[in-house]
Point group: C2
Chain length 658, copies 2
C-alpha cells in the first residue's frame, strides 16, 4: 500500500520538479511534496489586489488596456452612453422587433402608470410623466437590452406610505408633491453614488429569498389597497396592514358598497385574469394579456360615458392634466425640515428600486447571455431618476411585468423604451382628456392583475425545499409587509439576511474525515459511510476562513471532536489518538485571532500529548503561519500537501487498510 | 498513467464498497467513485442541529447525559456555583498558593482602586467597595481560576467619560453617583442576559486586533489624564483627547505647576517603573512590582504627613469614608429620564468589561489548559455586577495586570479572590483614615505604571506582520481613542471589524488549479509553480460557501477566469477550453441565490459550449443541488468525488502528463 501511495505521489526523479515542491523526509520514507510557500507580496500590491477584487471585480478597465489616448476617450464616452456603441450597427430588422415590443409595453404601461400614481397618492399624469423622461435617458445610458423602465407598483406603494407618514396628501397636496420630487431626487443620487463609487455589491446584501418574500407581501398589500377602488368605498384607511384594511372594508360594507362599481370592476378583472391565463398557456399569445388592460380601459371608459354611470356613484378619473412634463427643479426641497425627510425616504426607495432593476437586468442578461455591469447600470438608473425628479417624475425603475412582455415581444435593444416613451408623449399631448370617464375600478383591477404575478409560489416552494433558513427570511419579509407595513417588512428582510451572514462566519462547519477505501482521498465520514477512520489518527476539516469571529469556536469545536473520539476509543478500549490532522484546504485565510486560536489548540494538544499536523494550508494561510512563526512552533515537518502525505509520514507502521 | 490513477482509485472488486460510493461509468472507463448523498435529514433535526451549534457549541449538557434526577439537580447546582465542585477536593497546599496570591493582588489592588475610582469621577472608597463584594460573588460562581476581579482602568475611564456626558459630577455629585449605580446595574443585566441566552459569541465580533488597539489607546488616554495629578494642575479639561489635554497642560504651565507634587510624583513613578522592569527581567521577582505601589503609597503618605507638604499645594486624598459598602439599591434610577441613559451606558460598559474579562479568562485557561465556559462566565460576571450595583460598587471585571500577578503568585483557585476581598474588607474597616495624606501624585504614578503595559507593541508588530487589514482595525481603534474619545475609538473598532466580516463574505477567494506533476492532487497554480494546467480543461476552486452575498460575484469571477484563459489560449493559438471543473471542496454550503448563480453559470457556459463539471461538493451542497434538481440540469455524471476523477472521465483521450 505504502508503496502504491508513494508511487501515486511520485517519488521517482523528483529533482526535476521545482525544489519548493519536494524534499527528503527525515525518517527514510517515500518522498512527500512540500507545501508551497507563495512569493512574498509587498503590502501595496496586496492592498491593491484586495481593493480591485472588492470594487473592480468586473474588471471594467479591461477594454482600455494598451489603447491610444484618443481611442480611450471614445471608449469612455461609449462606456457612459452604450447607445453609441451598439447604435452603430443598429439595423432595420432590429428596429422591427423593438417597434413591436415598444408598442406592446406602451399599451401596457399607460393604464398601469395611471393606477400606480394613485398608489403613490399622486395625480394620474405623474405616472405618465415617469414613463416619458426616464425611459429616454435610460435608453442612452443603460446597458440592459430587455428592461422596461417606468413607475412600478412596489416602489409606488413604498413611496406613498413613507411620504404620507410625513405629509397628509389630502391636506397639503403641494408640499406632498414637492417632497415626492425631493425623495426622487435623492433616490437618484443614492443610485448614482452607489454605482459611481462601485459600491454596487451592497445591494447583494438583500438576499433573493428576502426579496421574494418582500415582493409577495407588497403584492398582497397592493391588491388589498385596490379593494377601495374595486368596491367603490368612499372612506378608506391610510394604513396598509391587512387587519386595518379588512376592518375598513367591513365597516364600509354595511352602509353599502356601490354595486355598479363592483359589477364593472369584477367583470373586467375576470377578463384580465382570463387574458393573463391565456398568455401563460400559449407563449405566442403573450400579447393578449399585454393589450387586455388598454382594451378594458377603452371599453369601460366608453361604457361609463354613454351610461353616465358616474352619476350613480361610479368613481372616475375625472381629470388628467394635458401636455408633457413641466419642470419641477424649483419644487425640490434643498433646505428646511423636509430636506432630511426627503433624503431618508429617497435613500430607501432608491435602494429598493435599484434592487428590483438590477434583479431584472441580471435575469434577462443571463437569458440572452450578455454581461451586465452592475455599477454602470446604477449610474444610468441614478441619472435617470435625478433628471426625472427635475421633470415632474417620481421614482422610476425596471418593471418585472413589462420587462417580461418586452422580452417576449422580441425587443432587441433599449430602442423599445424610446418607442414606448414616444407613445406616452403622444398620449400626454393628445388623448389624456379621453381618460376623464375611466372608472377607478378598472385601474384597480388592472393593478391587481398586474401585481398578482409578484406572488411567486413556485420560487417560495423551491426556497423551502433548498434552504430552510432562506425560507424563514422569505416568510419574515412577507408577513412583515402584510401584517405591519412595507418598512417593517423590509427591516425584517434585511436583518434576517444579516443574521444569516453573521451565523455563517461565527459557526463554520467542521467535519471528521475518513479514508475512502482503496483511494488516497479523505472525505466527511457522515457523507461517505464507506470512509474509514485511520486508527490513532483523527482528521478534522475546518470549512471556513478562521477569523476573529469564529477562531474560538473552531478551536473549541476541534477539541470537542477530539474528546468525543477519545471517549469512543476508551469505550472500545482501543489506543487513544496520537495525531490530530487538521485538513486546511477550505481554510482560505486566517487572521491574528485565528493564529492565536491555533497556538492555543497546539498547546492544549501538547498537554494531551497529541501531535498537531496541518494538511494543505492555502497560500494566504501559509503566508501568515510563517509571518507568525507558527510553522516553527509546530515544526516544518508537520505541514503537508495532502492528508495522505501526512498519514504516510506520521504513521508509517500503521496498516492504512481497514 | 490513466491505469495507475484507476488503480489508485481502486477499481478492483468495488462491489464490497457500499453501493453509494461506486458506479459504472457509461463510457467504458476506469470506475470512479460517486459523490455520496447524505441521508435526508428532517427539518426539525436540521434546525435543532443549527441551533445547537450556534448556542450550545460547548455542549454544556454533556455531563447531564443519562444521570438520575437527583444527581442532575446536584449537577445544576454545581454548574451554577462551581465552588461546590472544586471546593470538595480543596486542600491546604492549594490554599497556601491562594493565600500568597491573594495577599499580593490585595496589596496591588488597594492603591489602584483608589486611583481608578478617580478615573470614574467617584470618591476613592467606591473603588475599594468594588474590590470587596464582586470578587466574593465571582469566587462562588466563576469558573476561571486565575482571574482577579475588581475595578479596571479602561472600564473606569469609559464609565467616567460616558457618565459625565450626562451629568457634571462636580455640579451634581448625587445624581452622578446614582447614574453610576444605574449603569452598573444594567451592565450586570447585559452580561447576565448575554450569558443566560447563550449569546456569548456576540462578543467575538470585536476582533482581537481591534481590542489591542483600543486598549493601547485607552492606556495612553488614561496616562494623559494622570498629568493632572502628576503635575498638580488645578483646572483640567473634561475632554480626553490628546489635543485638548495637552492644551490644558500647557495653559496650566505658565501660572506654574506645583514642583513639590512633580518631585514626589516623578520620583515614585521612576521607582515603580524600575520595579516593573525588575519584575519583567526576573520572573520570580514578580512580587517586586506587585508590592511596589503599596510601598510607595505608605512612604509618600508618611512623607507628606511629616512635612505637611499638603500646605504647599501638594494635593492629597483628604478623606476616604470608613466602613464597608452601604446599600445602594434605592439609589438606582428605575424610572425617569436617567433610566434610559443609565441603560445605554450600562450596556456599553458591560460589553467592554465582558470582552476584557473573557479575554483574560481564555488566556489563562489555555495556559493551564482547562475549559472555560464563556456563557457561564458571563452569568457569573453579570450577577456579580448586579449585586455590586446594589452595594455601592461600580462596574467590576477581570484586571489584566492583577490577573497576571495572581497567576505568577501561584494561585490555584478563585479563593485568592476571597483572600483579596477580605483584605480589602479589613482596609475599609480599619485603615482607610490613614490614606488621608496620600498625595494624588502617587495615585497618578501608580495608574500610569499600571496602564503602561496595556500598550502592547509586540502584539501590534505581530498583527502588522500577520494581517495588514487587522492592523488597520487596530490603528483605527487606537487613534480613534487617542485623538477623539473612547466611544469613537470603540465605534471605529467595531465598524472595521464588521467591514472585515462583510468583505469576507462578499468577496471570497477563487483560484485556478493545476496538477502537481506525478500526483493526483490539484493545487492553486499561484502557490505551486510546479502545478501544470490540463489542456482543454479549466479547473477553478471557489473558496467559500456560496450565499446571496457573494453568489453573483462568484459566478462573474468564474466567467472572468474563463475569459482570461481563453484569451491566453487564443494568443498561443491552442484549442479552447472544453470543460470547466469547479472544485467545490471548500464550498461548505449554498443557498437559493447560490443555486441561481450556478444555473446562470451553467447557461452561459452552454452558450460558449463549455461543459460544467463539479468536483467534491460537500453534504449540504449535494443536498441542495438535489433539492433544486440542479444535478439533473447538468447531469448526474458531471459531479465527481475528486478533480482527478473528473479529469479521468472527461478527458479520456488526453494525455494528462504535461
Amino acid at each position: 500500500m505504502s508503496h502504491r501511495v508513494a508511487d501515486a505521489l511520485g517519488y521517482k526523479d523528483m529533482d526535476n520538479i521545482s525544489a519548493a515542491s519536494s524534499r527528503h523526509n527525515s525518517e527514510n520514507l517515500p518522498y512527500v511534496h512540500k507545501v508551497g510557500v507563495p512569493p512574498k507580496q509587498n503590502l501595496l500590491k496586496e492592498i491593491a489586489g484586495t481593493l480591485k477584487e472588492t470594487f473592480f471585480a468586473d474588471d471594467p478597465l479591461r477594454q482600455f488596456k494598451d489603447q491610444p489616448r484618443s481611442r480611450k476617450l471614445v471608449l469612455v464616452f461609449q462606456a457612459l452612453f452604450p447607445i453609441f456603441e451598439w447604435g452603430r450597427n443598429y439595423s432595420l430588422s432590429k428596429f422591427k422587433g423593438d417597434l413591436i415590443a415598444g408598442l406592446t409595453i406602451a399599451s401596457l404601461c399607460i393604464p398601469q402608470d395611471i393606477g400606480y400614481a394613485k398608489l403613490a397618492n399622486l395625480d394620474p399624469q405623474y405616472g405618465l410623466y415617469s414613463s416619458f423622461v426616464p425611459p429616454l435617458i435610460y435608453a442612452f445610458m443603460g446597458s440592459s437590452r430587455d428592461i422596461a423602465i417606468g413607475p412600478v407598483a412596489v416602489v409606488s406603494l413604498l413611496l406613498g406610505t413613507l411620504l404620507q407618514n410625513e405629509i397628509d396628501p389630502s391636506e397639503n397636496p403641494v408640499d406632498y408633491l414637492r417632497l415626492a420630487f425631493t425623495a426622487t431626487f435623492f433616490a437618484g443620487i443614492t443610485q448614482f453614488t452607489l454605482g459611481f463609487f462601485r459600491l454596487g455589491f451592497l445591494i447583494d446584501f438583500l438576499s433573493h429569498a428576502a426579496i421574494v418574500g418582500f415582493m409577495a407581501g407588497a403584492a398582497i398589500t397592493i391588491a388589498l389597497q385596490q379593494l377601495k377602488g374595486l368596491l367603490g368605498i368612499k372612506k378608506f384607511t391610510k394604513k396598509t396592514d391587512i387587519v386595518s384594511v379588512m376592518r375598513s372594508v367591513w365597516s364600509a360594507a354595511h352602509h353599502g358598497w356601490n354595486w355598479e362599481t363592483i359589477l364593472i370592476g369584477m367583470s373586467f378583472l375576470a377578463f384580465l385574469l382570463v387574458a393573463k391565463y391565456i398568455g401563460k398557456k400559449k407563449k405566442k399569445l403573450f400579447w393578449v394579456p399585454a393589450i387586455a388592460p388598454l382594451i378594458s380601459v377603452v371599453l369601460s371608459t366608453f361604457f361609463v360615458y354613454i351610461t353616465r354611470a358616474d352619476k350613480h356613484g361610479v368613481q372616475i378619473v375625472k381629470h388628467i392634466r394635458r401636455g408633457i412634463n413641466p419642470s419641477s427643479l424649483n419644487e425640490i426641497f434643498f433646505s428646511g425640515e423636509y430636506l432630511a425627510k426627503g433624503f431618508r425616504i429617497g435613500v430607501l426607495a432608491g435602494m429598493i428600486a435599484l434592487t428590483e432593476a438590477v434583479a431584472i437586468g441580471r435575469t434577462f442578461a443571463s437569458m440572452k447571455d450578455y454581461q451586465l455591469e452592475g455599477n454602470k447600470e446604477m449610474v444610468a438608473l441614478g441619472t435617470m431618476n435625478v433628471v426625472g425628479s427635475m421633470t415632474s417624475c417620481y421614482v422610476a425603475t425596471g418593471s418585472f411585468s413589462r420587462s417580461a412582455v418586452n422580452y417576449m415581444a422580441g425587443c432587441n435593444t433599449a430602442v423599445s423604451n424610446i418607442v414606448m416613451s414616444s407613445v406616452v408623449l403622444l398620449t400626454l399631448e393628445l388623448i389624456t382628456p379621453l381618460f376623464k370617464y375611466t372608472p377607478n375600478a378598472i385601474l384597480a383591477s388592472i393593478i391587481i392583475s398586474a401585481v398578482i404575478s409578484l406572488v411567486d409560489i413556485e420560487a417560495m416552494t423551491l426556497i423551502w425545499k433548498v434552504d430552510k433558513f432562506d425560507f424563514v427570511a422569505c416568510m419574515g419579509a412577507f408577513f412583515g409587509v402584510v401584517f405591519s407595513s412595507v418598512e417593517i417588512g423590509l427591516l425584517i428582510a434585511v436583518s434576517i439576511s444579516f443574521a444569516k451572514i453573521l451565523l455563517q462566519v461565527t459557526r463554520p462547519r467542521t467535519a471528521v474525515l475518513g479514508k475512502i477505501p482503496r483511494t488516497t482521498v479523505y472525505r466527511n465520514i457522515l457523507q461517505y459511510p464507506a470512509a474509514t477512520k485511520v486508527p490513532g489518527i483523527l482528521i478534522v476539516r475546518v470549512d471556513s476562513a478562521i477569523y476573529f469571529s469564529n477562531s474560538n469556536y473552531v478551536k473549541e469545536r476541534i477539541l470537542r471532536w477530539l474528546a468525543d473520539e477519545e471517549e469512543q476509543l476508551k469505550e472500545s478500549s482501543r489506543p487513544g489518538v496520537q495525531y490530530l490532522i487538521v485538513e486546511m484546504s477550505p481554510v482560505t485565510d486566517i487572521d491574528t485571532s485565528g493564529i492565536h486560536a491555533m497556538e492555543e489548540l497546539f498547546r492544549s494538544l501538547e498537554k494531551r500529548d497529541v501531535k498537531l499536523v496541518l494538511a494543505n494550508p492555502g497560500p494566504a494561510v501559509v503566508d501568515k503561519l510563517h509571518a507568525s512563526k507558527f510553522h516553527e512552533m509546530i515544526g516544518e515537518d508537520r505541514i503537508f500537501l495532502t492528508v495522505e502525505d501526512a498519514i504516510v509520514t506520521c504513521a508509517p507502521k500503521m496498516d492504512l487498510e481497514p
